[in-house]
């Protein structure tokens, strides 16, 4: 086993691409080290990306925000501009693990761990976030929902690194929100979760919407029918009823140690309603 700390993204990509055995990227380590401890991962090479220039920064650009792959989630919560523009994304990122884990974990790590229950992913999917990928073949930008393909699996090729998550500049009258259900108040994996992102017109009518559900299928679901329900509405009671029904119907959950099929269906709808209501209020809707 080797541990390296490259200073450039090109070097990191080259080392990853050239590694003979399994290689792992280390940013926060809050998933990788747990897997290593349990004997589920035994990488030949660990590439610590935290010394790479720019990867530990959040940049605000003309297009929006670029969140470096090594930025701990705690730092997201300390960025006032990001929190103002994308409160749902930040609240999702801030729900991962404990304060201790927050000091280490990253949203890119959360995305690449490819758990259907990852907290930040439904919020990122709802936000329409994109991932900037660097690999042996160069740079490409892809929607975040195309990164996880199945539990524990991603679409990234050997040698590819997500260097940053890109979030658009906000249109006026926009708001997003993320809610999850856990049995305790902290320290749990989402049993079911929902992220909603809305933009309203001048009259408070939903102009565009994205609704994503977590922990109800093999990957995070972007529920387009749910968005259709919201568009054109002011989130009246009937709309919320239909939203819950559509979300519950879109779920393909399983029974497992964290919850039952029935529970996940029912609560997915409840959380979508609550997240939509919160996003609507944040967008200035009444």
């Amino acid at each position: 086993m080797r541990y390296i700390r490259p200073l450039s993204i090109e070097d990191a990509v080259g080392q990853l691409a050239g590694s003979a055995g399994a290689a792992a990227i280390l940013a926060g380590g809050s998933d990788l080290l747990v897997r290593m401890k349990g004997g589920f991962a035994e990488p030949e090479l660990i590439v610590d990306i935290k010394a790479i220039d720019g990867l530990s920064e959040i940049r605000e650009t003309a297009e929006g925000f670029s969140i470096g792959a090594a930025v701990p989630c705690a730092v997201l919560g300390e960025n006032i501009a990001l929190k103002k523009a994308w409160p749902g994304v930040v609240e999702a990122a801030k729900l991962i693990g404990s304060k201790q884990v927050q000091g280490r974990c990253t949203i890119v790590g959360n995305l690449c761990n490819a758990s259907p229950a990852a907290d930040s992913v439904p919020a990122l999917v709802a936000a329409g976030a994109r991932a900037s990928v660097v690999g042996p073949a160069g740079r490409r930008t892809i929607p975040v929902q195309s990164v996880p393909t199945a539990p524990g699996k991603t679409s990234l090729a050997k040698g590819e690194i997500i260097e940053a998550i890109l979030l658009d500049k906000r249109e006026p009258r926009s708001g997003d929100a993320y809610l999850r259900f856990i049995p305790r108040t902290e320290m749990d994996i989402a049993v079911v979760s929902a992220g909603v992102n809305l933009t309203l017109d001048e009259h408070g009518v939903v102009k565009s919407a994205r609704v994503a559900l977590g922990a109800v299928a093999a990957t995070v679901l972007l529920v387009e029918e749910a968005a259709e329900v919201l568009v054109g509405s002011r989130l009246d009671e009937a709309t919320l009823e239909r939203l819950a029904k559509v979300c519950a119907g879109a779920c393909r959950p399983i029974d497992d140690k964290r919850g039952t099929i029935e529970f996940r269906r029912k609560v997915a709808g409840v959380l979508a309603q609550r997240a939509a209501t919160s996003a609507y209020a944040r967008a200035g809707g009444k």
Partner: protein
């Protein structure tokens, strides 16, 4: 497997050690440096008993590799008191009997120190959520929360 030479600062002192690439900072502290104040309750970041402060961030040392400490600042429970003067949190934990078995205490003290550094006047709810990454099985947390509240008052006055 070759050892990695690491130079770091622990509780203000320059420290050098060799560690294996898969060795956690917790293992380095406990097994190589004799700093056994940080405890391993789970090894997976779920209990907080191994809490340390790494460059002003509260982390679980079981989720940090020893190699990652290169060039950084590590604070552990062993550095919390100044000589024989206890930190106000340590003193209040004693006075409030905020510990029974005491295995979680170093982690709680470090986490509480970080909490009060970032929020000197926390509400009870902020304390409870701020310390949610530290498990205690003995106390029901009541006396821990009260000790932190009391220490916050003392530290503000200081």
């Amino acid at each position: 497997m070759a050892g990695i030479a690491v130079s770091t600062t622990i509780n203000g002192d320059a420290v050098e050690y060799l560690c294996q690439p898969d060795e956690t900072l917790l293992d380095v502290l406990r097994d190589r440096l004799g700093l056994t104040g940080a405890k391993e309750g789970c090894g997976t970041g779920d209990c907080g008993a191994c809490s340390i402060i790494l460059d002003d961030r509260l982390v679980c040392s079981c989720l940090v590799l020893g190699a990652e400490a290169e060039g950084r600042r590590v604070e552990t429970i062993e550095g919390m008191a100044h000589g024989d003067t206890l930190h106000p949190l340590q003193q209040k934990f004693l006075e409030h009997a905020a510990l029974q078995c005491g295995i979680c205490t170093p982690g709680f003290l470090i986490a509480a120190k970080d909490l009060l550094a970032k929020n000197p006047d926390p509400t009870e709810e902020e304390i409870r959520f701020g310390l949610a990454g530290n498990l205690c099985r003995c106390t029901g947390y009541d006396k821990i929360v009260r000790a932190v509240q009391d220490a916050a008052i003392v530290m503000k006055g200081a």
